[in-house]
Symmetry: C2
Subunit: 159 residues, 2 copies
DNA sequence: TTTTTGGTTCTGCAAATTGAGAACTAAAAA
DNA sequence: TTTTTAGTTCTCAATTTGCAGAACCAAAAA
């Protein structure tokens, strides 16, 4: 019979949750997922239980559960357990920013792939425009390759 | 009294419009905007009038108008006019891929900025996690800086 | 074996988004 | 001056999304 859990948040923390939340919403996450992620990022304890999260953000169980599944599917959040404790402790996965960017790079790789097909099927009459497209295509390639290098370089730097 | 305009699209072109469309929807564009953009990318003529666009995609005037305004606001699409012709000819703006990526980089810069605030307000008790956050922060910085270099390098390469 | 805990899934509603169709507008043409 | 053209804006209906609340479930505790 445990007493009421509580995650105390300062005004500054609440403000940061909103700011971070909006940034992640812009990348396509739902409001609830964005805020759960933000809460785990700013809270004083960085491992929070399901109920602590839902209480701190005033979410329903379903919203909390769905947000957590979503974030876990993206490998942005993981959970640990503690011996003799049935609860899960959710926390931000390390390296999440880099992984997130890697994920977004995939979108550009998709674009690159489709641009190739577009170029292949284009009429040869629009010479200048085709040149433009080829340039976009090469740029995608260049960019993706360079980004991968950036990731590698960073990993080397860390080790 | 001009005859019916027509933008002929092959099956392959229609397929590519859908593929490209989905990719752009993933970045947050509406279905209609994504398809207008895709049409302008794959059509044999790369400058199309309002009515050609709406007819080729079976859109309403309002959907066409809104999609075009949206794309013009992003500077992804522009229009030209021809002497003695009242119609506007819409087309894809050059360098759109790079500009699009630049735009997305801003999101990371925002994240970088907020991470700084998060770090400043964090309890000093979660030593390891704070280290992780600082690393994310530095990585953002590293990445943004490197990306800007990539853009510069590409521009130099072109000229 | 029943109850409690920690969460997931289902149902349904409210709000936001999207786009159709009609009304509108400004400029050019007749 | 009226009509036509080229496009914009308004209104509304149809989806879509996001989440609350309730029902549900499996494992542990009682």
């Amino acid at each position: 019979m445990e007493q009421q859990e509580l995650v105390k948040l300062s005004d500054k923390q609440r403000e940061l949750i909103e700011k971070l939340g909006v940034i992640m919403e812009k990348t396509g996450w739902s409001p609830a997922s964005s805020r759960v992620h933000a809460l785990l990022t700013v809270a004083d304890r960085f491992e929070l239980t399901f109920d602590e999260i839902r209480e701190a953000l005033n979410l329903s169980k379903s919203a909390t559960s769905n947000a957590l599944s979503f974030l876990q599917r993206l490998s942005v959040v993981e959970y640990i357990t503690k011996p003799g404790d049935r609860k899960r402790y959710f926390r931000i996965t390390a390296d999440r920013v880099m992984d997130h960017l890697r994920e977004r790079l995939k979108n550009i790789e998709e674009l690159h792939q489709v641009l190739k097909e577009v170029i292949q099927q284009r009429t040869t009459k629009t010479v200048e425009y085709n040149e433009q497209l080829r340039e976009d295509y090469s740029f995608c390639e260049f960019f993706v390759q360079k980004c991968k290098k950036i990731f590698q370089e960073w990993e080397k730097k860390k080790s």
